[in-house]
C-alpha cells in the first residue's frame, strides 16, 4: 500500500505532471483581474469564488494520467494478480493523488489570493476550505478517471461527468469563503468531501474491474 502511494507520488513528480494543475490555477488567478478590471473591492468580493472555480477546473487536468496509463500498460492487472484488491489500489491512488494535488494547490492559493486582493481572513477561509474540499475534488478526479479509462477521447467526457458532480463542493467552498463560519458551509463542505472520499475507491475499483471485460 505504502509502495503504491510512493509510486503515485513518483509518477506525479516525473515530468512535472503535478505542477500542471498548480500552474493552471495561478494562471486563472492572473487572468481574472484582467477580465473584471483592477477594482480592488470587487476583486476581493468575487475572488474567493473565482479561485474555487479555478481549483475545480485544475482538478480536471490530471484525469487522463491517473488510471489510463496503468490500465494500458498492464500495471493494474499485475497488481490484481499479486492479490491487491482494486479498491485498495484506488485508495492508494487517491492518497497519492491528493498529496500531489491538495497541498501544492493550497500553497499556490497564497500568491493567487494576493493577485485577487483578498484580505487575510478571507485567505484563511479559502485555505481551510481547500484543505477540507481538495480530498473530495481528488476523489472525484479519480472516480471519473477510472470510469473513463480505456475510452477514446475521454477528456471531454470526463469534464461532462465531473463538473456537475463537483457542484456541491463549489457551492459550499465558495459559500464558506464568502460568508464565513455562521453559514455552516464548512461543515457541509466536509460532509460532501467525506462522502466523495469514502465512495470513490469503491466506484473506481468497480470501474477498473468492469473495464477488463
Amino acid at each position: 500500500m505504502m509502495a503504491l502511494i510512493l509510486r503515485e507520488l513518483r509518477l506525479a513528480a516525473s515530468g512535472g505532471a503535478a505542477l500542471l494543475p498548480v500552474i493552471f490555477f495561478l494562471l486563472v488567478a492572473t487572468l481574472f483581474p484582467f477580465a473584471v478590471g483592477p477594482d480592488g473591492p470587487l476583486l476581493a468580493r468575487t475572488g474567493g469564488g473565482a479561485l474555487w472555480m479555478a481549483a475545480l477546473l485544475a482538478a480536471l487536468l490530471p484525469v487522463d494520467r491517473l488510471v489510463e496509463p496503468d490500465r494500458a500498460s498492464g500495471v493494474l492487472d499485475q497488481l490484481s494478480l499479486r492479490g491487491h484488491a482494486e479498491e485498495s489500489i484506488a485508495l492508494a491512488k487517491l492518497a497519492g493523488h491528493w498529496l500531489s494535488f491538495g497541498p501544492p494547490l493550497m500553497l499556490a492559493a497564497i500568491p493567487a489570493s494576493a493577485l485577487m486582493k483578498l484580505p487575510p481572513d478571507v485567505l484563511i477561509r479559502l485555505e481551510l476550505g481547500l484543505l477540507v474540499g481538495t480530498p473530495g475534488l481528488a476523489a472525484l478526479t479519480l472516480g471519473v478517471a477510472a470510469l473513463t479509462a480505456g475510452l477514446r477521447r475521454s477528456g471531454a467526457l470526463a469534464g461532462l461527468l465531473m463538473l456537475p458532480l463537483a457542484v456541491p463542493l463549489l457551492i459550499f467552498g465558495a459559500g464558506f469563503v464568502g460568508r464565513g463560519d455562521e453559514s455552516g458551509a464548512l461543515q457541509l463542505l466536509g460532509a460532501v468531501s467525506l462522502l466523495l472520499v469514502a465512495g470513490a475507491p469503491f466506484a473506481a475499483g468497480a470501474a477498473i474491474r468492469a473495464g477488463r471485460d
Binding site: 509518477l11 492487472d77 494478480l81
Partner: protein
C-alpha cells in the same frame, strides 16, 4: 495439490462463446501449451487463469501466479533495474537469467520489442510465483532469448513450478499437455 485447475470452464467474450467445457489440471512440474487459430481464445484462457476474467461457467482455481502478456507493466520513465525492482522478488536473478544485465541502467522506454519481451519474462522469473502464465512468450525473442526462455522454464518446472503458455511456436516444453482451442 494442483497449482491450476479448470473445471468445465466456458468463456464468452462480447456475446460470442469462445470455448466451453474446458477442464485442465496442472500439478507441480507440469506444463500446458495452448494452441489454436487467432481469436480462438488463447489469451482469454490465460486471463481466465490469472483471474482477470471471470468464466461464463465452471470454476478456476490457482496458486499464486505470475503473468507475462503483451503488456509490459513497467514504468516507461524508470531505468529497467528500478522498474523491475518495484515488483519485488529477486529482480537481479530475473535480469541475469534473461541476459538483460547490460540494459539494467537504460530507461524502459527505449527498449526494443524483443528486449521488452525479455523484461516481461524477467518480471515473471523474479516473482517467485509457482505458476507462470505466459501469453506468446516467444514473440519477438531472438535465438538467444528463446534459449534463455527454454532454460528458465525447464529450471522452473524442475523446481516444482507449473507453466501455462499460449503460443504458436513450439516452446521446448517437454511433455507438455496440449490444449487445442477452436
Amino acid at each position: 495439490m494442483s497449482l491450476l485447475s479448470f473445471e468445465g470452464v466456458a468463456c464468452r467474450r462480447g456475446g460470442r462463446l469462445l470455448f466451453e467445457g474446458l477442464s485442465l489440471t496442472l500439478a507441480p512440474g507440469e506444463a500446458a501449451l495452448v494452441g489454436g487459430p487467432n481469436g480462438a481464445g488463447k489469451s482469454s484462457l490465460i486471463r481466465l487463469a490469472a483471474g482477470l476474467l471471470r468464466p461464463a461457467a465452471g470454476k478456476v482455481d490457482r496458486a499464486e501466479a505470475a503473468l507475462a502478456d503483451e503488456h509490459l507493466a513497467l514504468d516507461e520513465r524508470q531505468r529497467l533495474g528500478a522498474a523491475l525492482a518495484f515488483w519485488g522478488g529477486d529482480a537481479a536473478a530475473g535480469i541475469a537469467a534473461m541476459g538483460l544485465a547490460p540494459l539494467a541502467e537504460m530507461p524502459v522506454r527505449i527498449l526494443s520489442t524483443g528486449q521488452r519481451k525479455r523484461a516481461a519474462l524477467a518480471r515473471v522469473l523474479a516473482s517467485g510465483a509457482l505458476l507462470w502464465l505466459l501469453d506468446e512468450p516467444a514473440n519477438g525473442l531472438d535465438g538467444d532469448g528463446l534459449t534463455r526462455l527454454e532454460a528458465a522454464m525447464a529450471a522452473h518446472r524442475a523446481a516444482g513450478g507449473a507453466i501455462l503458455a499460449a503460443s504458436h511456436q513450439p516452446l521446448g516444453l517437454a511433455g507438455a499437455q496440449a490444449v487445442q482451442l477452436g
